[in-house]
Symmetry: C2
Subunit: 154 residues, 2 copies
């Protein structure tokens, strides 16, 4: 299954390894890159365009945690789990710089599904989320471990 | 070395495995929990106090990505690396629910230091950040992989 913006709510039994989901596109505006970093990651290369030129990033870069938060937004929209996205953990890799003005979208792929042995109403699902910019570069890969519930028989 | 809010800027040679750093305390206000989630993680258990009561979390819970962003803020303040905190990746574990009104602080511990063989001006440092609430519960453990530079001889 490969789909964009499914309308229905998804349960464990609706997912299969290899399923992919594409999100909408999302612009990382200069204003929000700077204001997010000002609150959560106020380092010169995230908040000061002039100072950023002399930094490791050779120019203003979005905080990696801003990109992670945007992935969450896009992923939650394109993979609408019926009981919500409940994360136990996530492995994050920042692979390319996200610049102000970049437009990102997320490709989510179901990598593994393990039904719970002790709790038959749920399973553990591993999802890989790739945040991809307008040039096709993968800016972030995050691999999330989620608790996903089965449909309740009525 | 164990310290709170060091004033000087830190280089690779200033760090040792086992060093710990304590951050200031930070309140997760109800208003900001809801507004952060409204932008990045708008699921009922993060944005709707009434709907949250019936959810997996049995009440309003902060987005895990909000907690990650707050850890970044506190960690950057208490471990002031001279060239900034440059992350290659991070493994995040959400261990306890963060509730509106909780007050968090972060304990950062240097777990591993590997000087680069190919680039003598830098090394890879593994840091464990624990976000701890007012009751002593560990809400999030994140283990970050950072690029840290040596002092440049003048």
């Amino acid at each position: 299954m490969s789909q964009t913006q499914p309308q229905r709510k998804l349960y464990l039994e609706d997912l299969s390894v290899g399923d992919t989901f594409s999100s909408r596109h999302y612009e990382m505006t200069t204003e929000r890159v700077i204001s997010f970093a000002g609150e959560f990651d106020p380092q010169p290369f995230h908040v000061d365009p002039e100072a950023a030129k002399q930094s490791f990033f050779s120019g203003l870069a979005a905080s990696g945690w801003h990109t992670s938060a945007v992935i969450m937004r896009l992923f939650a929209e394109s993979v609408p789990l019926a009981d919500g996205i409940i994360g136990a953990g996530c492995n994050v890799e920042w692979l390319s710089i996200v610049r102000p003005g970049d437009t990102l979208h997320v490709i989510s792929t179901i990598k593994n599904i393990t039904p719970s042995k002790s709790k038959p109403d749920r399973g553990i699902v591993i999802v890989e989320n790739l945040a991809i910019n307008q040039d096709g570069a993968i800016c972030q890969r995050n691999t999330a471990t989620l608790v996903v519930f089965r449909r309740v028989d009525s």
